[in-house]
C-alpha cells in the first residue's frame, strides 16, 4: 500500500500549521518525521488519521483520492495511529481497550470475552508484545501501555502505523524493546511513520527521514548519508550545539538538604527508603535511575505534593518537609513537573496566564487584590520571545500549543523567577534540539548564579550532560552519589540496574 499526502494545508486561528505539505509512506519501510516544536508534525498525522480535516490538499491511497471524515474511515483504509498522549481508558483491561469500537459480540450485544482475550493474546504473541489481555491498564507501566496502543492498531489490521513521539516517555530499556517491535512490524510488511525529537533514533531506525519546518516540508534525507549535526541544522535552520557547554562548578554550602526521608504510599508501599543527600548552591545534581524507582515520589515529597512519614527537607536551614506547594514556591524553589498534562499547565488558560500562574499573587503582577495584567502580559511576551515558544499569540489557550511548546511555557515560567533552588523533572521531554540547547543553557546559567539545581531525568544522556554530581536511585534508595568527573555512563548504568552498590563512605 502507498499513502500519499498531496499539498496538505491546515490553518488554525493565527497559524498555518501545515503549508502545502507533500509526504509519501509505503508499506515495508520506516519513515522518520522530524521538525521543531510546532512545525506541524502532529497536525499532519491527525489529518492523515481523519481527526482533523485539511483545508486544502488530498489524501491518496494507492492512487485513489480519499476523504476521511473520521478516524473510522482512516482505520478502514488501513491507517493506525499511536498518539503522543496515550488514548487508553485506565479503568479498562487491556482486551477491553483493544476491542473498543470493534467488539466481537454475541446475543444482545454481549461481548464475547473469551473470544476477545483469545484474539488479543494471539496478536500479542505474533508480534512479541507479551501482553496479558486481562490486566487492568492503570496498573501497567508506560512501556506496556504503549504496546497496548500498538496492539490496538494491529487489531484493526492497519497497514500503515503512525507513532507520534513514541519514545519520549520510555526508558532506555523500553526504547530498545520498542525498536524491536518496530523491526517486527516492518518485517511483517507494515509501513511506519515515526515522529521523534531524538535525532539519533531517527538515524538509527529510519529508511527515510522527512523534515518539516514551520509547516513546510524542507526536504528529506537518507540516514546513511547524514549525521546528527547536519540533521539538526536542517531541522532548525541554524547550527545547533548538541553538547552542553559549562564551566567547572564551584559549589557553595548546601542549599537543599534531604535527610532520612521516608515516604509510604496510601496503599502502604514504601517508595522512598530513608534517603539523604544535599544539593549545594551553584551545583547541578542529576538523579539517574530507571523510571519507577522512587524519582517521582522524591520530587513530589520535595515540592509539597506528598507528605513523608519521617525525615526532613530543608532549604537554607528552614524546614519545608510539610510545606504546601504554595509555600515551596514562596521559598523560591522552582518546580518543572514531569507530566505537563496533569500538573504544570492549565490547558484552558492562555499562554500569558500560564506564564504567571504561580506568581500571580505577588509583586509585580498584583498589588492588593488587583492583577496588573499589562505587566503580566509584558513579561509573558518577553518569555515567549526568549524561549522561542511558537504560539500565534500570548492569548492562545495553552492546550492549542504543540507538546514541546507547552513544555517551554512551563520551563520559562519556572526559571524566570529569582530562585534558590530548581527541581526539574524531565525538563526537556518532547522538546526539539534547538530548544533543548536553550533550556540546558538556562539551567547552567541558574547554577552559575548560585542556584541549587536538582535534575531528574530518565534519560541518562541528559543527566550526564548537565550534572556536576550524579545520584543514582534504585528501588527507593540512593545506591550511589558520585562526582560527575569521576564517573562515566557505564558505571552509572551498573548502579541503575542494581548490579552494584556504593559502599557508604
Amino acid at each position: 500500500m502507498e499513502l500519499e499526502l498531496r499539498g496538505i494545508t491546515k490553518r488554525f486561528p493565527g497559524v498555518v500549521a501545515n503549508d502545502d505539505v507533500n509526504l509519501t509512506v509505503r508499506t515495508g519501510e520506516v519513515l522518520a518525521l522530524v521538525g521543531e516544536n510546532g512545525a506541524g508534525k502532529s497536525t499532519l498525522m491527525n489529518i492523515m488519521y481523519g481527526l482533523y480535516h485539511a483545508d486544502e490538499g488530498e489524501i491518496v491511497v494507492d492512487g485513489t483520492p480519499q476523504t476521511f471524515a473520521s478516524p473510522g474511515d482512516a482505520i478502514a483504509a488501513g491507517i493506525g495511529m499511536v498518539h503522543q498522549h496515550f488514548m487508553l481508558v485506565p479503568v479498562f483491561t487491556v482486551a477491553e481497550n483493544v476491542v473498543l469500537g470493534v467488539e466481537p459480540t454475541g446475543f444482545l450485544g454481549r461481548i464475547e470475552r473469551d473470544e476477545a482475550h483469545r484474539q488479543v493474546a494471539e496478536i500479542s504473541a505474533q508480534y512479541g508484545l507479551d501482553l496479558d489481555p486481562e490486566a487492568l491498564v492503570e496498573t501497567l507501566p508506560v512501556g506496556i501501555q504503549q504496546r497496548i496502543e500498538i496492539l490496538k492498531v494491529l487489531f484493526r489490521n492497519a497497514e500503515i502505523v503512525v507513532f507520534d513521539e513514541p519514545t519520549a516517555v520510555l526508558t532506555p530499556q523500553e526504547i530498545e524493546e520498542f525498536f524491536n517491535i518496530v523491526d517486527a512490524l516492518k518485517a511483517a510488511g507494515k509501513g511506519i511513520v515515526f515522529i521523534t525529537h531524538k535525532l539519533k533514533e531517527a538515524l538509527r531506525i529510519a529508511d527515510r527521514i522527512s523534515v518539516l519546518r514551520r509547516g513546510k516540508t524542507v526536504g528529506s534525507a537518507d540516514p546513511k548519508e547524514i549525521n546528527e549535526v547536519q540533521l539538526a541544522e536542517m531541522m532548525v535552520g541554524r547550527p545547533v550545539q548538541l553538547v552542553v557547554e559549562k564551566e567547572h562548578a564551584e559549589p557553595g554550602p548546601a542549599t537543599l538538604s534531604v535527610d532520612d526521608l521516608h515516604v509510604v504510599t496510601p496503599e502502604g508501599r514504601s517508595v522512598l527508603d530513608h534517603i539523604s543527600f544535599d544539593v549545594r548552591a551553584g551545583e547541578i545534581v542529576g538523579v539517574a535511575g530507571v523510571q519507577g524507582n522512587g524519582q517521582t515520589e522524591l520530587v513530589e515529597a520535595l515540592t509539597g505534593l506528598r507528605d513523608p512519614v519521617s525525615g526532613t527537607v530543608t532549604i537554607d536551614g528552614s524546614d519545608i518537609t510539610t510545606a504546601t506547594p504554595r509555600e515551596v514556591h514562596d521559598a523560591r524553589i522552582a518546580h518543572i513537573p514531569e507530566d505537563r498534562q496533569r500538573s504544570g499547565l492549565v490547558g484552558a488558560f492562555s499562554v500569558a496566564e500560564n506564564m504567571v500562574l504561580t506568581s500571580y499573587a505577588s509583586e509585580p503582577f498584583s498589588s492588593g487584590f488587583l492583577m496588573n495584567w499589562s505587566k503580566a502580559r509584558e513579561v509573558a511576551a518577553e518569555l515567549v520571545e526568549q524561549y522561542d515558544v511558537r504560539t500565534p499569540s500570548i492569548d492562545t489557550p495553552a492546550s492549542n500549543l504543540s507538546g514541546g511548546n507547552q513544555q517551554k511555557v512551563i520551563v520559562a515560567r519556572e526559571l524566570s523567577r529569582e530562585l534558590r533552588a530548581v527541581i526539574a523533572s524531565q525538563p526537556t521531554r518532547g522538546v526539539d534540539v534547538g530548544s533543548i540547547e536553550y533550556i540546558h543553557a538556562q539551567i547552567v546559567k541558574a547554577r552559575d548564579e548560585g542556584v541549587a539545581v536538582l535534575v531528574v531525568s530518565t534519560e541518562l544522556d541528559e543527566v550526564m550532560a548537565l550534572a556536576d554530581r550524579v545520584v543514582v536511585m534504585y528501588r527507593g534508595r540512593i545506591v550511589a552519589n558520585l562526582r560527575r568527573d569521576e564517573t562515566d555512563h557505564s558505571e552509572v548504568g551498573l548502579f541503575m540496574a542494581g548490579a552494584k552498590e556504593q559502599q557508604p563512605a
Partner: protein, 450 residues
C-alpha cells in the same frame, strides 16, 4: 451474646503477599533491568500503614465513640418499655430497650477503641455494617418503646419507597456513565409525574406512563443538547431544567388541574401478589406483594447492571464517560452515544415519575419533593453501579419508611424531624461512604470534536 465481637478478633493489617503482587500483572515488567526482577513495590517488602489510613482509622473510631455516647445519653434513658416487633400476622418478638442500648453502647465503644488502636483492615467495612444495623435497631426499640411495630410492613414500605429512587438513580447512572452530569433527575421525575397524571386522566394510566416517558425523554435531550451543542455548564443546565419543570408543573397544576378535577384523577395500579412466592414467610410479603413498579425496577437494575459491564453498549458508554478522546480516536461516535444514553435515561426517569401517579392517583404540586436529589446521592453512594445504587436506595427507602411508621406511632419525635430524616441519612451516608467514590473521569467535561 458475643455476636458482634467476632470481627474485632481478626488480625487487622496483616501484610498479604497476594496484595503485594497485584500491580504487576500483565507480562514481565519492562522497567526491569537486573536478572529476574519483579516490579518494584517498596523496599521493606511489606505493606505499611500510611498517614492517610491512620487518620481515617482515627476518624472512624471517633464516630463509633460518638454513637456509643448517643446510645447511653438518649436511648438508655427511655421510659423503659418493651417494644414488640411483628414479623408476620401471628409471630413477633419483644425487645427491652434499655438493656439493648447498654449492650449497643458497649459494643460500639469496643469497636471504636479497636479501630483507633489497630487501624483500618479487612474487617472495617463489615464491622461498620454490623454497628450500623445494631445502632438503628436500638433506635427503633427506643422509639417504639411500649408499643408494637410491624417489621415486615416497614420493610415492605422500604422497598416501595426505594422504587422511584432506584429508577431515578438508574437514569442518573445511564447519563453520568457516558460523561454528562445529571442534576436534573428531580425535574425529570417531576415531569414524569405530571405528564402521567394529566395524560393518564384523559386516557388511561398505561398511556399516561408512555407519555411520561416521552416527556422526560425530551427534557433529557434538551439537557444533552445544551451540554453537548453549546457546552453549557452541566450543573447549571440541570438546575435550570429543575426550576423550569417545577415552575411549569406548579403553574399548570393550579391553572388546569385544580380547576378541572377530571384532568387529575387516575385509577391507581394495585399490588400484584406473585403466586406461591408471596407465601414464603417474612420474605414473601416484602418482596412479592408489591406493585409492578417494584418488579420492573428490580429487573431494570439487573438488565442495566449486566449491560453496562457485559455488552458492547456498556463498554462504549463507559469508555465515552472515562476517556472520550480514546473512544473517539477508535471511531466511536462519542456525541451520538451521549444523546442516546440521555434519551434512555430520560425515559427511565419519566417512568420513575409516573410511580407517584400510579401510587396516589393524582398529581400535587412538587409531589416528588426532593426525591430526585436523593436519587443523585444514591448514584454516588452506589458508585455509579446499578447494584450499588439498589442497596443505597434501599437504605434511603428504609429511612423513609421508618420515618413514616414513627409518625403514625406517635413517638414524640417531632414530625418535622421525621420528614427530615431521609435527607439527614443522605448527608451522613454521602459524607462517610462518598469519600472513595470515583466518578467517571470525563464527567462534566465537554467533548470537542474536530
Amino acid at each position: 451474646m458475643g455476636l458482634v465481637s467476632a470481627p474485632v478478633d481478626e488480625p487487622s493489617d496483616t501484610p498479604s503477599s497476594a496484595d503485594a503482587e497485584r500491580p504487576q500483572r500483565g507480562g514481565p515488567p519492562p522497567t526491569s533491568v537486573g536478572p529476574g526482577e519483579e516490579a518494584y513495590l517498596g523496599t521493606l517488602g511489606f505493606l505499611e500503614e500510611s498517614p492517610e489510613n491512620k487518620r481515617r482509622a482515627r476518624n472512624i473510631g471517633i464516630a463509633y465513640l460518638v454513637a456509643a455516647v448517643v446510645c447511653l445519653v438518649v436511648f438508655a434513658r427511655g421510659d423503659g418499655g418493651v417494644s414488640t416487633f411483628g414479623i408476620s400476622d401471628d409471630s413477633s418478638f419483644s425487645v427491652a430497650g434499655i438493656p439493648l442500648a447498654w449492650f449497643t453502647a458497649v459494643t460500639l465503644a469496643a469497636l471504636g477503641g479497636a479501630q483507633i488502636m489497630r487501624g483500618t483492615g479487612k474487617w472495617t467495612a463489615a464491622a461498620a455494617s454490623v454497628a450500623a444495623i445494631l445502632f438503628v435497631f436500638t433506635f427503633m426499640a427506643w422509639a417504639a418503646a411500649g408499643q408494637s411495630f410491624s417489621l415486615t410492613g416497614t420493610l415492605q414500605d422500604a422497598l416501595k419507597a426505594a422504587t422511584p429512587l432506584v429508577l431515578g438513580a438508574l437514569a442518573g447512572i445511564m447519563c453520568e456513565r457516558s460523561g454528562i452530569i445529571n442534576i436534573a433527575i428531580e425535574g425529570l421525575l417531576l415531569s414524569g409525574a405530571f405528564t402521567s397524571a394529566l395524560v393518564g386522566s384523559l386516557t388511561n394510566i398505561w398511556i399516561g406512563i408512555v407519555a411520561a416517558m416521552i416527556a422526560s425523554c425530551l427534557l433529557a435531550l434538551l439537557l444533552a443538547w445544551l451540554a453537548i451543542r453549546f457546552s453549557v455548564d452541566q450543573v447549571i443546565a440541570g438546575f435550570a431544567i429543575n426550576f423550569f419543570v417545577l415552575g411549569l408543573t406548579s403553574f399548570l397544576d393550579s391553572r388546569v388541574l385544580t380547576r378541572n378535577p377530571d384532568y387529575n384523577s387516575v385509577k391507581t395500579i394495585g399490588d400484584i401478589e406473585v403466586p406461591i412466592l408471596s407465601d414464603i414467610p417474612f420474605i414473601g410479603p416484602i418482596l412479592f406483594e408489591q406493585s409492578f413498579y417494584v418488579y420492573t425496577a428490580l429487573a431494570l437494575v439487573g438488565i442495566i447492571g449486566w449491560a453496562l459491564f457485559r455488552t458492547k453498549w456498556g463498554l462504549r458508554t463507559r469508555a465515552v464517560g472515562e476517556h472520550p478522546q480514546a473512544a473517539g480516536t477508535l471511531g466511536v461516535n462519542v456525541i451520538r452515544r451521549r444523546y442516546y444514553n440521555l434519551a434512555m435515561a430520560g425515559a427511565i426517569a419519566g417512568f420513575g415519575g409516573s410511580w407517584w401517579t400510579a401510587d396516589v392517583g393524582r398529581f400535587n404540586e412538587n409531589i416528588t419533593n426532593g426525591r430526585g436529589f436523593i436519587a443523585l446521592a444514591v448514584v454516588i453512594v452506589g458508585r455509579w453501579n446499578p447494584f450499588g445504587a439498589l442497596l443505597a436506595a434501599l437504605l434511603f427507602g428504609f429511612a423513609d419508611a421508618l420515618a413514616l411508621k414513627f409518625s403514625f406511632l406517635g413517638t414524640g419525635i417531632p414530625s418535622e424531624f421525621l420528614e427530615m430524616a431521609p435527607f439527614l441519612v443522605t448527608l451522613v451516608v454521602v459524607a462517610s461512604f462518598g469519600r472513595g467514590a470515583r466518578p467517571p473521569k470525563a464527567l462534566g467535561q465537554p467533548y470537542e470534536q474536530q
